[in-house]
């Protein structure tokens, strides 16, 4: 009699009870089932929206990351140029200090002719994997729009309407209920499919970001070292100039 709402077999419980009670219970359980499936369907839709949003945010973050990588690369180039400039100024100082020092320069090796990177902004090849992941994720923009909660009021009202229908038409046979249920199941399945593909895209994005970040990490380390040596050089050059 006191079977829990989540009974294993709601219809089996009815056999023990009287007809009226049984019918009542049956209706109640059916309503329960419908309600829960509707709730789950909504839940899946919301989760799907969440997923799309995450994807969007991830794409934006990775774009920023790429731009930062470019900036870092430019900084590294400038540091290299500064290094060369410092070497040149060192020679100038030598020639200024004494006439003989300047002559000595003549016999020293010529300054390294290594021209730095071409002056145009060089190509910054962001990790290609990240790029592709971003491309595929960007295509989901439309999906994001339609799954955004603010834009989906219409659908929700439809669902509520159909649910109200099923609740009121209690006397109908089981067939329409099955339809609703099946519709819910379909919806949930669709949403789950979309979620899985969305998750795979997110995974790719994450992996791409991982490699990108690793590269930038290395670059940062190199940059730090170079800047430190550069700093020391600048300080010593400055001192020497003052002593002139």
């Amino acid at each position: 009699m006191a079977a829990p709402p989540r009974s294993y077999n709601p219809f089996a419980a009815d056999e023990d009870e009287e007809e009226a009670d049984g019918a009542e219970r049956q209706r109640y359980l059916q309503r329960e089932v419908l309600r829960r499936s509707a709730a789950t369907a909504d839940s899946t839709t919301r989760s799907l929206a969440l997923l799309y949003e995450s994807e969007r945010v991830g794409v934006a973050a990775s774009e920023e990351l790429v731009r930062q990588g470019e900036a870092l690369k430019r900084a590294e180039q400038m540091v290299d140029k500064m290094d060369q400039d410092l070497k040149t100024s060192q020679r100038h100082i030598n020639s200024i200090k004494s006439v003989f020092g300047g002559l000595v320069n003549y016999f020293k090796s010529k300054p390294p002719e290594s021209k730095p990177e071409p002056y145009g902004t060089p190509e910054y090849n962001a990790n290609s994997r990240l790029k592709e992941a971003m491309m595929s994720s960007k295509e989901q923009e439309s999906k994001y729009q339609e799954s955004h909660p603010n834009l989906r009021r219409l659908d929700n009202s439809d669902n509520d309407f159909s649910r109200a229908d099923s609740v009121s038409s209690v006397q109908c046979d089981a067939y329409p209920k099955n339809q609703h249920l099946r519709a819910y199941h379909q919806k949930i399945d669709n949403n789950l499919d979309e979620m899985s593909s969305g998750l795979s895209r997110l995974k790719n994005l994450a992996l791409g970001l991982q490699t990108e970040i690793e590269e930038q990490d290395d670059m940062l380390d190199r940059l730090t070292k170079k800047v430190e040596t550069l700093d020391v050089n600048i300080a010593s050059t400055d001192k020497r100039v003052r002593q002139l």
Partner: protein
Amino acid sequence: MAAPLLSLSFPEKLRKGCGQGRGVGPEPGVRAWRPPEHPTYASGWAGVGSRAGGGGRVIRKHTDIRTSRRNHSPKFQPGISTLVKVNWTRIVLKAVFRMSEDNEKVTLRRIEPAIQKFIKVAIPTDLERLRKHQINIEKYQRCRLWDRLHEEHINAGRTVQQLRANMREMEKLCLRVRQEDIPILQRMINPVKEEASFAIKEFLQLHSESAEELKRQLEGQEDTSLTRSATVGGGKTLCNTEGKDGSQSLIQMYSPLPEIPQDENAAESWENLEEDLIQLNQLVTEFSLLVSSQQEKIDRIEAHVNSAAVNVEEGTKNLGKAAKYKLAALPVAGAVIGGVVGGPVGLLAGFKVAGIAAALGGGILGFTGGKLIQRRKQKMIEQFSSSCPELSRQTAKKSS
């Protein structure tokens, strides 16, 4: 309606299966990365009875690596530490694999540690877990604890998928080995492979039996199970495939999805999934916040470096100019010295005119000598400043 992930179709033989495990998880567009990586992750992710629960876990694991975040304990299965270890093993293997991608074929020695780890750690762990699952399934079947049975099925399905993924990874690694080392490798791997395939076969038989049992139990109920439509469809297609292949090629069979007898389990799985998704969303948002906060620092870095570069360049130019100005003194100095020397010499000689001429001559000599030296030095300075085009342009203007 099997999800795209589950529509894997691996070729029959184990060996062939490795090189062609493409198109598993990611969309066709995303092909940039080496293909071998995907199947493992995707299958480790796809190998679940309830769909995307594992996916959240794998993604979480990845972001784990990057952001070193501590997650709350996942409720999926016991022995999560071994799971983590196995995953890390796989990641290490991937690193080795990435290393070895530079050369086409590598010596056995390079891959040996990875393979050893496979043989000694990953696969035995999976086999052990599989055996435990088997025991549990039998126990629950006897005691008729359907929900626990169902859980065990799910977990076992996952384990089988992982095991398969490991085998595939190993096979892929084997492909990389040079021709001459292959027999040795075969000898090392074959026992493990046989054991694994035997265990999988046994398990699948047991599994299908008990799944049938489950199905019969719940035949009576029609509409109460939430995901019945999906699982029935999935189970049917899978059972058909199984029937066709028999027990020939293990990789081709995939464990039939257990049917979910009650609403509760589906709801619970779904709730887990939802939680994971929410966490994932939070994680992504936090990541983007981090990135944008670092943006400012990077901007400052670039600005500073820029101004430093400009300053250094100017300083160098000025130094060059200073050096040149200094050189201008040379001819004058030469002239003076020449005059000073020549004058007294001439005067000593006694002839006034000769003395003056000698003085003048000496002056001219000194001047030309100094001029020569100046020219040479200017050339040198121009060479120094060759890296600064503006400077050389200036000097060109001056000399013209």
